[in-house]
Symmetry: C2
Subunit: 366 residues, 2 copies
């Protein structure tokens, strides 16, 4: 089998800079793994779905190290303080010290929880991300955001904790349920919408190849997504400014996820619809035209993503948006589009226009 050589990017964050390696078959590549996992002791945190597929191969490739594995239940509904406590228990039970490493093997939930545990254990130990979902490879594994959910909202509790490395094995995407692959594509589309019109056009040309698991197409999509995220994160690690652009669709999306309970809507699905709402509001403000909005809707449909919101009511949605982290001084700042391929952060939109957008998507048609 012909494989492309792994691509390596770097996230530039001074002494916390790190590499992202993207390629096929990295999961049990001892050379690459031991280049980044330098600790003698490690805890692999995975879940009950991914663990049985890959944990043994990963552990065997970490030759000469003392490695334990912890499999968490699978699902966003387990991204809780209680389950986090189990990770702490495992770290203590393994008697891991400050020089140990946590390895996250799985999707965004595993990465967020393992990373948050690593951030807090002994006030911070190393961790390495081995993401096995498209969503994690293009988004959640990169950038240092870690955390858990609270009944009152997603990711309300967490830390910024940069990994030592992100090792993205594209081959693991072959075991990903198609629905999750599609949800990951939503974030890929986000990068195009918010930062790179050319990449957006590339996605439009390759969406079927991506859905068919064409490794070359996936490799490019992951790399380009990470490049965009890396540049933005390097400029604004703690989200004081432009990093918030990466939240396109997320404020609306969080409202959907919170209203329907974690697990019913996948994160990427909620973000897909959320991007459509952001585009709708941008159109009402005159930044996009009807053709742009239609182009987004068609792409989401081709990617197998939803383009309608659950009818939770505009008022309820607005309330749920109010609890979002992006609120400053009671004013909801949103990520909008000034054109396709360019996001902007704004708290300065007509309140009426927002209400119309919310009513259009969240109210039942008469």
């Amino acid at each position: 089998m012909m494989r492309d050589a792994p691509a390596t990017l770097r996230i530039e964050l001074a002494e916390r800079s790190y590499g992202i390696v993207i390629g096929e078959g990295l999961l049990d590549d001892a050379d690459i793994l031991t280049r980044y996992v330098t600790a003698r002791d490690a805890l692999v945190v995975t879940n009950v779905t991914v663990g049985p597929l890959y944990a043994e191969r990963l552990v065997e490739a970490l030759t000469g190290k003392r490695v334990r594995t912890l499999a968490l239940p699978d699902g966003e509904q387990y991204k809780t303080l209680d389950v986090l406590g189990r990770v702490f228990d495992a770290l203590v039970e393994a008697r891991l010290n400050r020089d140990a490493c946590v390895i996250a093997l799985g999707g965004g939930v595993v990465g967020d929880m393992a990373g948050f545990a690593a951030a807090c254990y002994q006030r911070g130990i190393d961790f390495v991300q081995v993401p096995t979902t498209l969503l994690a490879q293009v988004d959640s594994a990169v950038g240092g955001k870690t955390g858990i959910n609270h009944a009152g909202g997603k990711n309300l509790i967490g830390a910024f904790h940069q990994p030592r490395a992100v090792i993205s094995d594209l081959a693991t995407l072959r075991s990903l349920p198609p629905r999750e692959l599609r949800a990951g594509l939503a974030e890929v589309i986000k990068y195009g919408l918010v930062d790179d019109a050319e990449f957006l056009a590339w996605i439009e040309r390759h969406v079927e190849a991506l859905l068919a698991l064409d490794m070359q197409a996936l490799g490019y999509a992951v790399r380009r997504s990470c490049e965009i995220k890396a540049r933005i994160v390097a400029a604004d690690e703690h989200e004081h400014g432009q990093r918030a652009l990466l939240n396109l669709g997320h404020t609306f999306g969080h409202a959907i996820e919170t209203a329907t309970g974690y697990g019913e809507w996948l994160h990427g699905e909620a973000v897909a619809v959320g991007m459509l709402l952001a585009a709708d509001l941008s159109q009402r403000m005159g930044f996009l035209d009807a053709k742009d909005l239609e182009r987004i809707r068609i792409l989401l449909r081709r990617a197998g993503l939803p383009d309608t919101a659950p009818r939770i009511g505009a008022t309820h949605a607005f309330e749920l948006m109010g609890m979002d982290k992006k609120v400053l001084q009671g004013r909801i700042r949103l990520v909008l589009l000034s054109r396709l391929g360019a996001g902007m952060i704004s708290g300065d939109y007509p309140a009426d226009a927002l209400q119309e957008t919310l009513r259009t998507y969240f109210e039942a048609a008469a």
Copy 2:
């Protein structure tokens, strides 16, 4: 009543620099409070002992702000993930946003938990320490260490999160149980032992005044302790090197606290005995002479602090020390004294000497 004007120190940590204000009657000094609590919304985290004494006065002095209060159960045994969850619940319930502030009103447990909650909530919001115990005023409120305990060890889970300010009202020490005042004195003595022989001699001259709540003496002891801690923390915020000096007696002390269960021994009491063990080992290595050791023992006794350890056995104590955060690559680094007034960090001590020290203090006399 004649009062000294409040003293103000600064912890120099670049953009996270902050002030420590020390004086009588600061707790309801609206000028000073609102200078440091700039947020519109705040959550006061306190406990059921301190809250009824001071929370109302503090809240009233925060004029024009939206302030809620949460009283935690009182005691080290409640410094757990479960109780931390209650702080998160209160933050979410109050719908606090990223620009809100957590105010810790109480001792070290309240400060550690409130600070850790502030570190994690929305990945980090402001917090202000209003310490009401001597231990918190001279040690735990200063320096940015926050966290909770785990059944496997003290402070195993936490974060570095610097407060916006530390406001130490000396008058609150009048309501402190005498045993806790004495426990706080152990940390004051620590600063003398580890960094400042002159201060050590000053403590020897003023120990009775301190125990009698002489406000001038207390003011100087708090200020000098904070000065020493501030300098060391500024040089080494994340404890890569010399900050570990502040752990004199803590590795031994943690073993005592863990073995006896949190709550039986006060932290300062365990540290007092721990310092004696460190001095004992230092003497066996030829750094101190018998007179130095006796001088420490006498000072601890005059301060009403214990000078004998619980008979938990040398092996058990050693094991419990092994889980300490200060372990690197399996070798226990300890803080020793090269002379009175000068600490040193060493992993390079004779294993036999350590075992003799442990046997002397932890084994029952024949």
